[in-house]
Amino acid sequence: MPWTKLVADQRRNFEPVGGGGCDRVLTYGEAISEAMEQAMEIDPRVIILGEGVSQPGFIYNTTRSICKRYGTKRVIETPIAEAALTGVTLGASLAGLRPVLIHMRCDFLLVSMDQIINHIAHWKRVFGNDTPLVIRAVIARGWGSGAQHSQSFHSLFASFEGLEVLMPATPYDIKGLFLSAVASPKPVLFLEHRWLYGDRDYVPRGTYLVPLGKAVLREEGSDITLIGMSLTNRDIYMAREKLKSERIFADWIDLRSINPIDLDTIYSSVAKTGRLLIVENGPVCCGIGAEIASRVMENCWDFLKTPVQRIGWPSATVPAGPELERQFYPGVDQILTTIRKMVT
């Protein structure tokens, strides 16, 4: 796909965050592929379902290795029927499997909203039974993907405490979070970003878990707290680097988990910096940033030096044309301008 190349050219890596003696580099795409393979190895109850999972595209190459190794018994090619598949996933989890359902686009989640919310999100609370399942969905952007292929619906799922919603941003995290997601008794929505697939990072060979529900403080600073999620971490990284020369230093939190929100990490950073900017990977209005901003106001009132600010998409409808796209997505400049206003 053309935008793969496009992205590859534009890509700027985060600094590797792995470490711990690890010296092997993988891409985000390779990391999730490896995570799936290891999950299936560890646990014979893990199965994979989805449209195209066993076809040569292999969901951006992330199911190739599991297809080869585990074949069509555990990697199930499906019809295009997201609503039913989501119910199937729930049922399978109730009867002893650990299913992973994959969607090529986040946008397709809406077709199965009734199963995700009316059924999956409430099941444990109502019936008492665990529903260990994972739904992977990929957020896309650019190359005219437009209104129905570029949306990011993380915030729609954030109010349902029966769901976990993750947005891994690095190869290290995507592997560790996926393994945690599969291991969890709770249902997990696992939202990947297409533009991160080429990013590289140190990734341990073995299995490891990144805890669910926890943000990570990626870098420390004392002037302002910046919260990123998924792809917006990349802009934050770049903005933060630039600000150093202006002697502005930021705490950079990668949210990682949209539901639940790791408020402790956020509160303690804001208590230190007194300023908070959230960069949403989605429309500003009613985004997860609104909930964070409200909580921070309620709980860090005495520390706040200036109102919490949010940056995100100007509208929920994403345009297709190249120039419209360029105008649409906020970038490093908007982040820099906002931060400069906030700290002075």
Partner: protein, 311 residues
């Protein structure tokens, strides 16, 4: 049908009927505060299918689930406690009548979203197939097939040869809308057969027919035939929700309910058993009724006494 089975079927149907009638009695007191969708008139279906199930089989049901769950062996006390919103209810007071379940007893749960449980049942069956044990019965009404998710699931089950018995309880209405106003096709069985899914239409008020047909289909499913489909023609006596008969509302033709009452599945069986086993039958009827009435009364009073479920 051998005598033990026949009386067992009778007993199950009677239990369901008496439970539903107890709810009708209790409901005006407004202690049961949950919308009830009563099963009176349809008992033969749940009873006839349940006898063919084994411990590792599962059922998934819908809003009209009392009969399915009781036939499958849901605990009466847990059932009533749930209706009363009490501690010890099968879903801890969180579910109410529309969300009962007990996975330990083969009841995955029930969805109050029309057709919402259908794909969940398919998922259960997928797990059963992979773990090589058991089959799943999915109960749903003639209304549920209006929803696309039913057709998606049918296709998925057949593609994967899942061990599912689809049980459509065709009681001629979805809420107050007659089937003909909702289905463009004359016969759903014909359409389902297009999937090469073994499909049978039967008298859902004849418990022997239900038991036999479902028994055969379930055997085929256990042997790996993939999904099978039963369309059970039946009728609900009460209104869609609540305890009144609502035949004065005008959506059902005047004589319809009374005609269907003459086809009461329990009366029919009583008549049959009386003819087959004169003397014995009457004694059995009395003792079963007496037994279940006591059980129900006891469950209800325990439910009433129990503390409310709280958070």
């Amino acid at each position: 049908m051998d005598i033990t089975t026949a009386f067992y079927l009778y007993s199950t149907m009677l239990k369901i009927r008496l439970v539903e009638e107890a709810i009708v009695n209790e409901y005006p007191l407004q202690e049961i505060q949950t919308p009830v969708h009563l099963y009176i008139g349809q008992e033969a279906i749940a009873a006839g299918i349940a006898i063919n199930l084994q411990p590792h089989d599962f059922i998934v049901s819908n809003h009209r689930s009392h009969g399915h769950c009781l036939a499958r062996g849901m605990d009466l006390e847990g059932f009533f406690k749930e209706l009363y919103g009490k501690q010890g209810g099968v879903t801890s007071g969180w579910g109410g009548s529309m969300h009962i379940g007990d996975i330990e007893r083969g009841i995955i749960g029930t969805s109050a979203i029309v057709a919402g449980g259908i794909p969940i049942g398919a998922g259960v069956a997928l797990a059963q197939k992979m773990l090589s044990e058991g089959i799943t019965v999915i109960y749903f009404g003639d209304g549920a097939v209006d929803e696309g998710i039913f057709w998606e699931t049918l296709n998925f089950c057949k593609l994967n040869d899942l061990p599912v018995l689809f049980v459509m309880e065709d009681n001629h209405y979805a809420s107050q809308t007659p089937t003909e106003q909702r289905h463009a096709y004359a016969d759903i069985a014909h359409i389902v057969q297009g999937y090469e899914i073994p499909t049978l239409t039967l008298d859902g008020n004849n418990v022997f027919e239900v038991a036999k047909v479902s028994g055969n289909l379930i055997n085929r499913i256990r042997e790996g035939a993939g999904p099978c489909f039963m369309r059970c023609r039946t009728y609900r006596w009460k209104g869609h929700v609540g305890c009144s008969e609502d035949d004065d509302m005008g959506y059902r033709p005047a004589a319809e309910l009374s005609i269907w009452k003459t086809r009461c599945p329990i009366l029919w069986l009583e008549k049959y058993l009386t003819e087959q086993y004169p003397g014995k039958a009457e004694i059995e009827f009395f003792s079963r009724r007496d037994y279940w009435q006591r059980e129900i009364d006891s469950a209800i009073s325990k439910a009433k006494e129990a503390p409310y479920a709280v958070d």
